[in-house]
Subunit: 340 residues, 2 copies
């Protein structure tokens, strides 16, 4: 178990039982009972040099901070409604800096129906963005704990693109410091491919529409958003559901830009997909017979989903490659381990 | 206008109008409309070396972070219900460190009926605590904007004690570094007085019961929690209500520990009261005829309240001392100005 997951288990042991807490700490979002029905809430804290690169554009950072939270509500199938935004920053940057963060967050959250209603500011030695977002579950919340042996495992989008985008952004930043022209270094990576990877990292697309549809259709037995790495997040879903998740290596939908970047950098694209993190795709489970409904839902929303594996009895998360099996639940980020 | 208040005005100009936002950014908490009735929400970000002293005890820090947020809901008259806790910390401190912060926050919020439902962790170069807290307004929310000329101005508790406590904590920390015995330095400040001042800073008492009673009785026309300094917060209430707030110097309830500390340090206790901040007392306005009801409410709750001034037509916040008047709206902390 990762240190962060152990922390959550210890934290849960601290909490008094409460009938109004429908989904306690340890899932993508909390769900609490209120007179009008359940309310879903989530928070994410982003710290400069840890969760994003130093000197990140503030408006883009605001968009990303909103997306990270929107993705949590997407994973449980809740409609985003309102958010609070707290910003720490070096005051010598002036008030335009937090205002740009707010502008980005307001725009990105607004695309998914969520409005900024308040916040807080503090001086800080580096940029800090904390968002708390809440909304209404579209139906019974999809938890991490509902997967059963025999079901299929599905994934939206293409894992690993954000990890490649982060590496590319670091390379470009190093070139910029040296005054070199980056384009000359990348003969095998088209501008469009570069853009696709950078966008996947800087401006991820939270799968809110997909999460809402999965909840309304009642078709996903469990779901998690892939924020820390496909490996570790598959392991978390497996742990919560008390099952084994087996992903098929050849089924992982690796994008052309990811393959091109990995080849150029002599990296294994599968490693980027398993341990990269920051994807904000949904990994979910469904009965085998529901494949046609899922494929219809995918077409309707224009969101690609791929069957990437199976739920088995047992524990842990594995990658199966022909006859070989490999444990992958430790591949990815842990917020209690070293900075990325 | 302080930079932070100007920021909030610019932020509000960014936001699309929304019928579901009943109390937008710029008050102590936000209030949004939901099917079952209004929901109040607030967030506060605390950063080490800025909002609290380096090396603060983590459990005490958790209690204080909860109290700061509880005070915001108190100011609008809302019952706290649940909260999210995001923590940034040096991972070499180990998972017991954020767990102690959580334990303190859970205990303090629990005293006021609020449960922890989720959170987030991140590595960070210093300790960061961000809480988002939700609750239900007991009646129509008390805003900063409802004061009218001719009303009285009231204050709970004793302002300036937390500011004195912070200074005392810094003195004690400096002594501890030198290995000196602090008690010998303080012949005129009893242990009980020291404890009262340190507690006022480290473990403030959010005035939740008072705020709820004021809302239920409909007796407060406007309120604000005194977090940044009596001067600046009186100015904020005046600005929102488009009135002038006049505080009477001789009416300010200065505590015996505060007077003793100020005398020892050759400080003016009035200055500590006006610009100190961190009091988390409620400053509120009420019709003159409501004094007996307020005094009865104060007795019933065991929360001291004092009539400290008057609402007049005009603008700004003044301290009246006999025939002299002094502008006080710039006295206190601004989160966009230098660190405290």
């Amino acid at each position: 178990m990762k240190p962060e997951d152990r922390f959550v288990e210890r934290l849960r042991a601290l909490l008094p039982a409460s009938a109004s807490v429908l989904l306690p700490p340890g899932d993508d979002a909390a769900v609490v009972a209120r007179p009008s029905g359940p309310l879903a809430a989530t928070t994410d804290l982003l710290v400069e040099d840890v969760d994003f690169l130093r000197g990140e554009d503030p408006e883009r950072l605001g968009r990303r901070a909103a997306a990270v939270n929107l993705s949590d509500l997407a994973a449980i199938g809740a409609q985003p409604e309102f958010f609070l935004l707290a910003i720490g920053f070096r005051t010598e940057l002036g008030e335009d800096f937090p205002l740009s963060i707010a502008r980005g967050a307001v725009a990105r959250a607004g695309e998914f129906g969520a409005a900024l209603v308040g916040g807080d500011l503090s001086a800080a030695p580096q940029t800090i963005v904390a968002i708390a977002l809440w909304g209404t579950p579209a139906a019974a919340p999809i938890t991490r704990g509902g997967a059963s042996p025999g079901e299929a495992v599905w994934l939206s989008g293409s894992p690993g693109q954000a990890a490649a985008g982060l590496r590319l952004a670091r390379i470009l930043a190093a070139f910029a410091e040296q005054g070199a022209k980056p384009t000359e270094r990348f003969p095998s990576l088209s501008s469009a491919d570069q853009r696709a990877l950078l966008d996947a990292y800087h401006d991820p697309s939270p799968r809110v529409a997909l999460g809402l549809s999965l909840a309304r259709l009642g078709v996903a037995s469990a779901a998690i958003d892939v924020s820390d790495g496909l490996g570790v997040d598959a392991g978390r879903l497996a742990h919560s559901s008390r099952v084994r998740i087996v992903l098929e290596r050849d089924a992982l939908p690796l994008s052309r830009p990811l393959r091109a970047f990995a080849e150029m950098e002599a990296l294994d694209p599968i490693e980027l997909a398993l341990s990269g993190g920051d994807d904000y795709e949904l990994l979910f489970t469904a009965r085998e017979g529901d494949a046609p409904r899922l494929e219809a839902c995918s077409r309707e929303l224009g969101v690609p989903v791929t069957r990437v594996g199976r739920v088995e009895s047992g524990r842990g998360a594995l990658l199966r490659d022909g006859g070989l099996e490999r444990h992958i639940a430790s591949l990815g980020h842990d917020h209690l381990e070293a900075a990325r």
